[in-house]
Every structure is written in C-alpha cells, then in structure tokens.
Symmetry: C2
Subunit: 434 residues, 2 copies
Amino acid sequence: MSDNPSPVRVALLGCGTVGGEATRMLLGEADELAARIGAPVELAGIAVRRPDKHPELPQHLLTADAGSLVESDVDVVVELIGGIEPVRGWLLTALRKGKSVVTGNKALLSEYAAELAEAANTSGADLYYEAAVAGAIPLLRPLRESLAGDRITRVMGIVNGTTNFILSAMDSTGAGYAETLDEATRLGYAEADPTADVDGYDAASKAAILASLAFHSRVTAADVHREGIAGISASDIQAAKLLNRTVKLLAICERVTADDGTESVSARVHPVMIPRSHQLAGVHGAFNAVYVEADAAGELMFYGQGAGGAPTASAVLGDLVAAARNRVAGGRGPRESAHAALPVRPMGQTPTRYHISLDVADRPGVLAQVAQVFAEHGVSIAAVRQRDRHSTASLVIVTHLAADAALQSTVDEIGKLDVVREVVSVMRVEGEDT
Amino acid sequence: MSDNPSPVRVALLGCGTVGGEATRMLLGEADELAARIGAPVELAGIAVRRPDKHPELPQHLLTADAGSLVESDVDVVVELIGGIEPVRGWLLTALRKGKSVVTGNKALLSEYAAELAEAANTSGADLYYEAAVAGAIPLLRPLRESLAGDRITRVMGIVNGTTNFILSAMDSTGAGYAETLDEATRLGYAEADPTADVDGYDAASKAAILASLAFHSRVTAADVHREGIAGISASDIQAAKLLNRTVKLLAICERVTADDGTESVSARVHPVMIPRSHQLAGVHGAFNAVYVEADAAGELMFYGQGAGGAPTASAVLGDLVAAARNRVAGGRGPRESAHAALPVRPMGQTPTRYHISLDVADRPGVLAQVAQVFAEHGVSIAAVRQRDRHSTASLVIVTHLAADAALQSTVDEIGKLDVVREVVSVMRVEGEDT
C-alpha cells in the first residue's frame, strides 16, 4: 500500500431506508472507514428513480441512470434496489467488468446466484450479500468462511421478522391470525400487501441462499418447499401451549443421507412446533436467529436484528469494507463454491415429525383404530396423550421421524375415520429428542 | 487457478486433542477441502515433543524439530502448542518469511499480537486465530470483517467454560464454591490446577483479543482488570436468586466516552449479576456466548461450544481454508487494524453498577445513614429493598452507574458503619435498565 492510495470508488444503486443509512455511514465515518480499509472510499454516484425526490442527498451525486453509473469508473457497485430486472443486467455488467458487487437482493440471489457467481469468478470480482439474509446478523460470512473446514449438517432459523412478530403476538394474546395480522399492519410490522412475508416467499428465498452456502450446492427459491402462516389458528397455538411448546415459522436446510449413503439437501419453510425451552422459542418480535449444526463445531446460534435500515446497512457496509480491502490488497475474497452439487430432496421424501391433535369419540378402541392407520403407513408413534372431554375425548399424538408424504397421507386417512370428530391441529415438530 | 494447482503445504505444530482432531479432518476430508480451496492441502509435517508417543499419527510426518519444520518448504503454519516461548519465535520466523499462520494461542496473542501482526503485515502473510476465543463460535471473523463498517460499542460474554460450569452448578445446587470446584475437577470440567480458569486469566486473555479487534486498538492481557470466581459464596448466589438474577463470570469490553468526548477502552473480567431473563443467563455448563452491540447493527449474540477438541478444530480448519484460499487466489485476508489506538481506561474510572446486600440493625434511621455514605461519594441509588429478619434487617441496594473506585470506597465505608452487621454480598450488575 502506497502512502497515498487511490480511493475506492463506489456506486450506490437505490437509496431507500437501507441506502440512506448506508450513505449516512459512508459519508459520516469516511475517515474511520479509510483507516480500516487502507484507502479512502469515495461515493461516486447514487442512482435513484427520481433524483428530485431526494433533497436530503448530495445533489451532485444523484442520477436516474443506473446503467451508466455502473459502466462509469467505479470499483464497487452496492445494489439496494431489489427485484430481478433490470438489476440483474446491471450487476452482471458490473461483475463481468471486474467491479465488485455488494447486494442485499435475496430475490435475485435465490434465483440467479449461479449466473452472478460465475460472472464474479470469471473476472475475479467479489460478490458479497450478507444483508440478504437475517439483516445485521453476521451469518453468511461465518457459513462461507469460518465453517469452511467443517461439515455443516443443518441450518434452521427464524429469518422473517413479520411472521415472527405475528406468531409471538398470537402466542401471548391468544388472538387469531386475521386480527393479529391487522394489528401487525397497523404497527408497521407487516406491509400493506403482506403476501411475501406471511406466505413464506421471503423466508424461502433466504432458505435457498443458506442451503446453497451451507452445502456447497445450488438451491434456488423454487427448490424450497414453502408453507406460510395464514393457516395457523388460535387452536394450533393453544394446542402447542398445552404441550409447553410454541409455534414458529422456520427455514430449515438439512443434509439428508439416504439408506444407500447418497446425500441430498432438504430446504423448506413451514410452521413448526418447538419446545419452549428451545433457544429459538425465546426469539420474539422482529428479531431473527439462526441455529447451525456442524460435525465438528457442534451447535451454534446467531441472533440479532433481521431487518431495519441501520442493521441492514451495517451488513452492507461490512461487505463494502471487505470488497474495498480486497481492492487495496490486490486480492479477492473466497469464491462461491457449488462443487458438491447435491440434489434437492422433494418434501414428500424428507424425514419430518408431526404433532397431531384430534377430537375423537369417547369410547374404547379409538386409539387402536387410529394407531392402525399409522402402522399401515409405516409411521411410528413416539407419544400419545388422551383426555376425556364430556362426550368427546382429545387425543394428541407425536410421531417419530417418517417421510413427510407418509405423514400427510396418514393424517388424511385419520381425518376420514368415523371415530375422529375433528382434526384440531397438525403441525411439524422440531428441536426435541426422538 | 490452473487445472493442476500446486498443493498448499501445511506444517502442524503440536498434536494434542485439538491437533489430533484437526489432523483427522485434514486427512479424512482431503478431497472435500481441496474442492473448497481450489487446490489440495498437503500436511507436510507434524511437530510433537515426543514422536515415539504418537503411534496414531502418520510416522513419516512426525518430527521433534518444530523450528526446522517452520523453516522448510511450507505455506501455512498451524500452531496448537500454546504458551509464549519458544512458539513466539517460530511464528515470527514463519510470518517474516511470508508463511501464513493459524493459531489458537490466546496467551501469546493477548501479549504479542502487535508484534505478530506487524510481521504479517510486512510480509503480506495471513495471521488468523479464530480458535483463540470461544472455541467453535465464529466470533473474531464477524468482529473483524462483518462489522468492519459499523462502530462496535460493547462486547460482553461468557468465554470460559470451566467457570461457567461451576457457577451454573452453584446456581442449581446451592452448594458452595469449594465443593463445586471439586465436583468440576472430578468430572473433568476443571483442570488439576484450575488457576488459569477460576482466577480469570484465561478470560482476560480473551478479553484482550476481543477488545483489540472490536475497537481497532491494542489491548494486552495486562491491561484487563481481572477478578476470578473464588470469592463467590453460596450467599452471593442466593442473594442473586432472591432478585431473580444469576451470577456469571463475564469478559466485558466497552468503548467509554468521557464527558469531554475523548474515547477510551474498558476491558475487564469479573463476576456479574445479570437478570435471569437476559440471554447470557440461559447459557449453561461449558457453553460460551458473546453479546455484541454496535451502533448500526444493534444487539447481536453468538452462541456455541467454547472448548473441546472437535469444536476448536473446526475453527482452526476454517482459518486454514481461508489462508489456503488466499494463497491460491494470490491475495490475503484483511489486515489487523489498530489505527484507533484508544487508551485503556483504568478500572477505577470505569462506570459500573453495584448490587450490595447488607445485614443491618433493625431500627429506624439505618437507611438514612447508609444513603448518606452513597451521597458523600456521589453514587446515586437506583433501588432499595428492606426486609425485617428478627433483630437484624436485610437491606438490598442497586446503584446507578458510577466510577468503580467511588463504588468500592462507598462499600468500604458502609462496612464500617455501626448499624451494618455484615456486608453479605457485593456484586457488579449488567444487562438491565438503569
């Protein structure tokens, strides 16, 4: 490094909540960042749709022409616009020209990570996206680098704050889904159109990114089995409470080994019942937490704010400093590695466990009939609890691990039994001993 | 990268529990590691004190001459011997010759990090030491890289498993310190000579490393205020329980801003009373957890196994893969940065809060006398609880933040008051609102 190193020139695409915080940090902490990087960082331009709508930003930096800004003399492109097109084209152009890219665009990455990584690898540019999953929590860098010598077997976590806020509130108030969603919208925890969050699309994109990194394979959002929380009722929450458990929407990425030794990846997002003593059960409101299991490291957990302007900007700036340091040092960060290329296992073949709560006729022989259905589907029962309730009785069953499809068809068939008045709640179970 | 890249040659110094696991992983997962790195890793030699005592290792790799192994044709030196000399000389030689170093040697780093970092920076070699703090938990890389664009204000955590095991056990059994230490020794959680753990030396080394990274400054173990757990009594634990709190040995590294705006670093290790609802209160046994606060990221927590052969080897291998990838890519990882060079604040001037539990005479005016002593020392009281107990009464006081020296002298003087029968427990308090 020379005494007067050239500045690292940065293009910022998009300047909403996160971009505004990132700009404030870049300009306000310029000297500190220069000292950490070994060269000054220079904000070369900010592309926004309507420059006249941003009186708070340095006017001479603003442009509506993101494409030209990317093509100009910049070293790093920070993209905070979101969505697929036209962003994909701009970032590919940047990477192919050897400019490093920092992005928080989970939709783009969960679909086009392979194409972007290839462009980065070919030109030797860096592609960083810590902000795309779990906001401020340093998670992707530990997965990609700290655990690079270990064998990750599972990544499981709360990666969507909106759904966690709603489920936390349902758990504490006993209220139903619809009214809790209304409340979350009113308080600003849910968007006017909450589909991406409550139907699990946002979490599925993040699961695809996590599974790809953890298992050195390519998993896209379309590969992720996805169920949202709209079907969760107050009685599901109540059933969980009775068992000293709670319901969370989890992204679960697992390495699954078949009987013949072949490996595959399971990536899924769905509501899960976990024990209240589980570490993820204590993660409330808009916080995120991700639990990682690796052969040598054992159990790890990462916890922090999953969204918001400043926390997400922290992740963006961390990536920007890394990319800038690599420029100054003449090197580059670790490449993406998808060498393992494990196939994705369909949900039906993924081993899961179910909790099933039934209202049944209060007469002898009911359990025998129900148990017979489980046996016919090859599903083993781990625990049963029966309780009388006037003319009906409640029957609660927790299974051992079985293929998800076998569990589904078991539940379907049980619902048709004469002795079963109602299937009160069906929920997958994680985080407890079998 | 060419199609047949040269192997990255590794020297391993020391082969105890961690080294043995690392060797097993290196040899057993060679193909997988080569795919991740982009070149094969070749174990060039293992230096052990007595080669004849290691029939489990490949004999042709063994040598008793660590110095010559370091000087031989190797690219990366992995050091797992521990202690200062002669290791310091070997690692300086390696770094000065441009060989990257991976080490878990907290004693060495907490004293000689500046010298080692300078040697690494001069030659352009990597110096990684994730295994030195909190075992398998990816903590140093997130501090150094992920949060590199943020401003860390505080790092606080449980970084010593032995003392956490002892305090957890005292909390759950109500037993005293001496008998719990005996039990920990019997179960293998404490060493035959437990001094380094129970007197806080181990945690102080880690605090020095954490403070240096978090605040871009140089903090050595000698700068860290250190109190161990040998003085913790069953009545301290009981006093904490009565307030729904628990006692933990914490390493606390803070950025302290004086009234005139000048900044300094406080680094300390001592027992602390924290609310049972605090996330660190739920960390039991030999687990470690570290809580980080940064301006933009907010609150983060990292949790996992803090010691043990396999978990620590996971951290070592992660660093080795990073160093090897940098060799293959022709770059290097981010340098140490001590540019902020903040001074270390003496403990007496560090703002802390105290919990003080007293047995006092049961008569009017006692609180007035006690409160007068606080006022004379400029210490503000946050909460008081009095309870009658036959002829004596108990008086529990929690203070607001004050300089530690002022709190100490307040306690000393209160102990001399006629109305005070006994100072039952004095403990610093963290993790609650003022």
